[in-house]
Amino acid sequence: MSKLYSGAEIVFKCMEDQNVDHIFGYPGGAVLPIYDELQNFKSIKHVLVRHEQGAGHAAEGYARSSGKPGVILVTSGPGATNVVTALTDAYMDSIPLVCISGQVPTHLIGTDAFQECDTTGITRPCTKHNWLVKDINDLASTIHKAFEVATTGRPGPVLVDIPKDIQFQKTKYNRPKKEKKLNGKSHNHFNQNSIDELIELMSKSSKPIFYTGGGVINSGPKASELLRELVYATGFPITSTLQGLGSFPGDDNQFLGMLGMHGTYEANNAMHDCDLMINIGARFDDRITGKIDEFSPKSKKVHIDIDPSSINKNVKVDLAIVGDVKTVLSSTLKSLKQKKSKFLKSNKQKTSKWWEKIQKWRSVRSLDYIGSEDTIKPQYAIERLYELTKDKDSYITTEVGQHQMWAAQHYKFNKPNRWMTSGGLGTMGYGLPAAVGVQVAHPKKLVIDIAGEASVLMTIQEMSTAVQYNLPIKIFILNNQYMGMVRQWQELLHDKNYSESYTAALPDFVKLAEAYNCIGIRAKTPEELDDKIIEMLNTDRPVIFDCMVDKVENCFPMIPSGKPHNQMILGPKDQESKKITGKGKSLV
């Protein structure tokens, strides 16, 4: 007779078979049996966070930077509710997470027991699927299924809720079935005709553009390689969403920069004026499209996405290819080579006028800002950070707000999985714990959280985690004492009524670093910035870097309220000449 294992042991047996090496968690009453078994499974390292939301974001950072699912272990009640923000964040940005939560014993469910909550009910809308395991014999198969659901198709978070009595009960353990059953939820149903049609559209187009997103990253590093090959083989311009940064080299001439609300002038105008838009793994989010009725009015639109429900959700497209980016791109390249081997040459002439137009938009230099010798401009800080770190293989996370957009605009990414930011949900407090997760996955690499002082305070307690595990993350705070993006909107759209966007009693971040037993560095002038950044980079311990920046700098360019792509507000120079009032808010 085969050996009997307790539910708690089975949790870890499953993780071993799923090649889990790190879990992020926080113990509590309803998961004590699982924590009791932890020491018997040496291949699985537990990272103790300081708040369950931190566990969730750390697991997200781990997953995004490694391509493996992030695993979370939390207790019932508040443990589970605290992780909801991170699950929702992962759901919006399609990040594979497996969350194991404890639950009160089965006979107490529904009695309002201590630390009981309807965890599967609460997390139903923010997970791909969730399970309450009421029978020990279902436990192993449920956990294996959970990993499968999280990682196949469009990835996302799942949750397995395990009552405490189930953790004690014993049963046999079954290893996962080898065959990858996809339950019909993973889609690679495109056929050669669609690929041929795509190539036909590409060869006819004289104003094409690739618009790429997080789907390319999620499809794995190979997808980014294929994307580069396709972009070089066609000579087309390419722009990327916030989540797609890194899938194509940020310093390449064919790259127009990020598009959308704070995207570049050339990217947004090219999106508006193109005659062929090839969307690869992006989802026509409202921050991308601007006013939907006037979104790219003259173009044929192609949408490549693994999730059929993304097709025609916000924007109607002319050709939909439902499939994994990697598979679709490799078919496209194969057909392109067979049918149009001289595509690049024949196409160069056709798109030469288009490129001229793009160069004209480029010459506007929409990311320029007015420099200063007295105060550190936030854009300057990012530029210097990039220049001083670009030779290292660095990983960047961010919080949410102005600093996030400046990082996206001024830090150039050349590889996928190097850029971790909360896009869909826009979760302030994401970056610090995400950096913890990234550093756990890549102990030797440079990991920087580009932060705002308001965001970082939401999860600052995770500095303690970083110190405990000797994770030398660098928290680079662009400190302007305001919730900068809120302040910017209030200035531009709410008549400068700066309602509650100023933080009057900020902590001294250098002293705070000392309190956490890590290193605090402050930079006040542009003059000392480089030296201070170098000091930070030479410190092999966690650092909180308090970069005192211009308090009232705004993030430009910007597509204002409900405007289409070709009506952007450019930087301060443009404003001075146009006085942004009423209709003058728009440029074109």
Partner: protein
């Protein structure tokens, strides 16, 4: 909304709403109805009526029939979003006008009154296969099967004969002929 200050755009377009009957085959497991219904409420879709029961005891499959209204784009999203749910096996969609499909609802009417009124009530139901489920000196319980609007009409018409209580199901659907839902 003339001067929206938010970056979210406001849509002024008025699109035509169609009534659709969506049929969903799901694993009959805990919480499955909540998943389906939660998807509708969470994404702001309408549910006009809902009927659900297990139809295959061995495979533990339930069939959910939902009557909904929406623009073509919304109805398409409903179908695609439903198909993403893990316990969902297949989804079928019909327009209410579809002649190839039978839609039926059932209603129970309780009539209380003198004998002549009870008889008039039963007579009024004649077109809709009335079944007299319960009869006392003072009351009747009548079952009819009909379309939604027919039952709406009967619930109004029977008032004068002493209708005191109505209980009705959501619509269920079945294709005509030898065809089955794909």
């Amino acid at each position: 909304m003339p001067n929206s200050k938010s970056a979210y755009s406001f849509s002024n377009k008025k699109e035509k709403f169609d009534t659709h009957i969506i049929v969903v085959w799901v694993d009959n497991e805990a919480g499955v109805l909540a998943r389906v219904v939660g998807l509708f409420s969470g994404r702001g879709y309408n549910i006009e009526s809902l009927a659900v029961a297990q139809v295959d005891e061995k495979l533990k499959i339930s069939r959910i029939t939902i009557v909904t209204t929406g623009t073509p784009q919304v109805v398409n999203q409903i179908k695609l979003q439903l198909r993403k749910l893990v316990p969902v096996h297949k989804v079928a969609d019909f327009k209410r006008e579809d002649k190839a499909v039978i839609f039926k609802e059932m209603a129970l009417f309780k009539i209380v009154g003198p004998n002549n009124k009870l008889e008039s009530a039963l007579k009024a139901c004649k077109k809709y296969n009335p079944v007299l489920l319960d009869k006392t000196k003072k009351s009747n319980v009548i079952q009819i099967t009909a379309l939604r609007r027919e039952i709406d009409k009967m619930s109004k018409d029977l008032k004068k004969f002493g209708l005191v209580s109505v209980s009705r199901t959501g619509a269920v659907a079945m294709t005509r002929g030898a065809e089955i839902f794909k």
